[in-house]
């Protein structure tokens, strides 16, 4: 599905507004939209709302063999998923230009700046290291995906706890969270990306462009910094001509914005930690705005169960008799080939036929009982699963119904020339 194109009027209007230093949502040139950071129920899950832009990051860990060139370093993997939910223009499973750009920028911002101590992720050198995987899902695209993604990713990494590992000799034990408290990752610094949009060949500059503004911009400059005023990555994109002075000015603005955002992230992490310690319920369910008209919550409700048994029995009773079941299906042991459906042969074995008829009459009348019996038999048959294979064909057959042994043994052994092992269930 294609994105709705922007009309010329809209384009002109937006550009005119930017020239007059006005923005659609009433912000000033250097203002960020309202940012909200919430956490999911489990560790390493973080939602970031930047105005209407919404992203989710989830961190997960896995034990893998390290790369041969770096035997004692853990592996970081980043993946930004442009879900079609965020914008109809995003297609699932396709590597678009935007997705490559965002993925590489996030990699550069978080991996190349070495913000995570990868050596502490090593369990056994050259054999087992932790792979930390960060999945960032775009849920709603209203511009500035990169900043939202970088904030979500670093916050999720800070929030994440990996399982503790014990090493005794050659044995590596991974402890569940109940056994030992999971441990956080060691994070040196928090790089945060700040985006600047340029308009009219670089004459006008806006921080945190929204989707409409992104559509009319000439180019974008992304600067990732940490609160120590260290630049972790710079990337310009789009066909713009920058001047050195502009880059310097942007870096100064970025440093201010980054310190504000870092503050917000630490506060959010702190709050979550407190809530978890106090044993309060936390997570997405709790962060749902209650006061909004569009939201509603209902407490745990019991389901009326009183007449369920009767209802079910009624239905079973009133239902048409189930299709004729084969009275004694021959169930081959799993993994054994067999020709045909395993229906009994009717070649002149009259006593057997009579037995069947009798049974059918019974089963028609009392379905309930039959069901229970089947259940019992199932249990029995489970026990009978273990069949010893011996040389004699007679002994291969396991009969679950002892009364009819005499009748059937002869028949079955003839019937089954080729099938190796079979087991019979008898009604």
């Amino acid at each position: 599905m294609k994105d709705t194109p922007l009309s010329n009027c809209e384009r002109d209007f937006l550009l005119k507004a930017i020239e007059e230093k006005k923005r659609l949502d009433g912000r000033q040139t250097y203002d960020y939209r309202k940012m909200k950071i919430t956490f999911g129920t489990d560790f390493g899950c973080c939602f970031v709302d930047l105005g209407k832009t919404r992203v989710m990051a989830q961190v997960s860990s896995e034990l893998v063999t390290p790369k041969e060139s770096r035997p004692n370093e853990g592996i970081m993997f980043f993946n930004i998923e442009l879900s079609p939910m965020a914008s109809p223009a995003f297609e699932q499973g396709r590597q678009s230009e935007l997705s490559v750009k965002l993925n590489r920028q996030l990699e550069r911002c978080l991996r190349n700046s070495k913000c995570i101590d990868t050596e502490s992720l090593c369990v056994v050198s050259g054999e087992k290291v932790w792979q930390i995987r960060v999945d960032v899902h775009m849920l709603n695209h209203d511009g500035n995906l990169m900043d939202a993604a970088s904030i979500a990713a670093i916050t999720a990494l800070c929030h994440f706890r990996r399982p503790d590992v014990g090493i005794q000799g050659d044995e590596v034990t991974v402890f569940s969270p109940e056994e030992r408290d999971p441990i956080p990752l060691s994070i040196y610094h928090m790089p945060i990306s700040v985006s600047f949009a340029f308009f009219q060949q670089g004459t006008y500059l806006l921080v945190d462009p929204c989707e409409r503004e992104e559509r009319v911009m000439d180019g974008l400059l992304m600067i990732a910094m940490n609160k120590h005023r260290e630049i972790c990555s710079i990337q310009s994109s789009g066909g713009i001509m920058l001047l050195k002075e502009q880059v310097m000015r942007c870096s100064k603005i970025a440093s201010i914005k980054v310190s504000e955002i870092t503050e917000l992230i630490s506060k959010a992490l702190e709050n979550d930690k407190k809530a978890r310690k106090a044993g309060e319920r936390c997570g997405f369910a709790e962060s749902m705005p209650q006061e909004r008209i569009t939201a509603l919550k209902m407490d745990e409700t019991p389901v009326e169960m009183t007449d369920v048994t009767e209802k079910a029995n009624d239905i079973v009773h009133n239902a048409d008799a189930p299709p004729q079941m084969v009275p004694s299906p021959v169930v081959p042991i799993p993994g054994v080939g067999q020709v045909g459906q395993g229906v009994q042969s009717t070649w002149g074995l009259e006593e057997d036929d009579e037995g069947e008829e009798e049974e059918n009459d019974n089963s028609g009348e009392e379905q309930d009982e039959k069901v229970t019996r089947m259940e019992e038999e199932k249990l029995e048959s489970r026990e009978g699963d273990v069949v010893e294979i011996s040389d004699s064909e007679e002994e291969e057959v396991v009969i679950l119904n002892p009364e009819k042994v005499s009748k059937n043994t002869g028949y079955t052994s003839h019937h089954k020339g080729a099938a190796a092992t079979q087991k019979r269930k008898r009604k």
Binding site: M1, C45, H137, M288, V308, E375
Partner: protein, 219 residues
């Protein structure tokens, strides 16, 4: 098999928020206990020529797992949700157009498929798409002692002998879709359906309440 403690037969707390995303034509998040799913709907919109159907709209359901890329598990759940939606949506009103429903798992703590179904229904309602009836999803588990548990958590699902998810319509409480796992008897199946039908009333009541609340200022 015959006795079930009433403790297992309850629905966890419910939550729902509609139109929380600005881009999709309809969106909703549905929360059942800790399980939560976000759904977005786009459409009716232009359809790719290869997917065009001449007499009705093409419905596409995409499910995004939380970690990693969609796999066979997601595909099968997509199928379940799509068939349910196709049964209740009046697709013939929008021939040669596309409807896209995207489901994003936010947290899985059991009963994921039923939560997805509920989120999907809320999102479709929010998008204002014509439907012949509403639908909801209920998951029942039968534990090793034969008790029926409705809306099980992940831990309960793991312990259970059989797991069944039904989609139930709002008009006659009929079963639109069922997805089962594990072994159970006919009687147990009927009991679970009966439980789900009575549970569905609660969910439909919840649908009604949340929609009434949502439109309380306009009505």
């Amino acid at each position: 098999m015959e006795v079930y403690g009433s403790s297992g037969v309850s629905l966890r707390e419910f939550g729902c928020e509609q139109s929380l995303l600005s881009r999709p034509d309809g969106s909703a998040s549905f929360i059942q206990g800790d399980t939560s799913v976000l759904a977005g709907v786009y459409g009716p919109a232009e359809v790719k020529v290869s997917k065009e159907i001449y007499d009705r709209a093409t419905l596409e359901v995409l499910m995004q797992p939380k970690v990693g890329l969609p796999s066979v598990r997601e595909r099968s759940q997509e199928q379940c949700v799509r068939e349910t939606c196709e049964a209740s949506l009046l697709l013939s009103l929008h021939p040669r157009s596309s409807l896209t429903l995207i489901l994003q798992v936010l947290h899985d703590d059991g009963s994921l498929l039923s939560c997805s179904l509920n989120a999907a229904c809320m999102a479709l309602m929010d998008a204002g798409l014509p439907m012949s009836c509403l639908f909801c999803g209920v998951t029942c588990a039968i534990d090793t002692e034969g008790r029926i548990i409705t809306d099980p958590t992940a831990a309960q699902e793991k312990e259970s002998r059989a797991l069944m998810t039904f989609a139930i319509d709002s008009k006659e409480h009929r079963v639109l879709m069922s997805a089962t796992k594990g072994s159970f008897s006919v009687n147990e199946l009927q009991q679970c359906i009966a439980v789900s039908q009575s549970a569905s009333e609660k969910i439909f009541q919840f649908y009604r309440d949340s929609v009434r609340r949502r439109y309380s200022k306009t009505l």
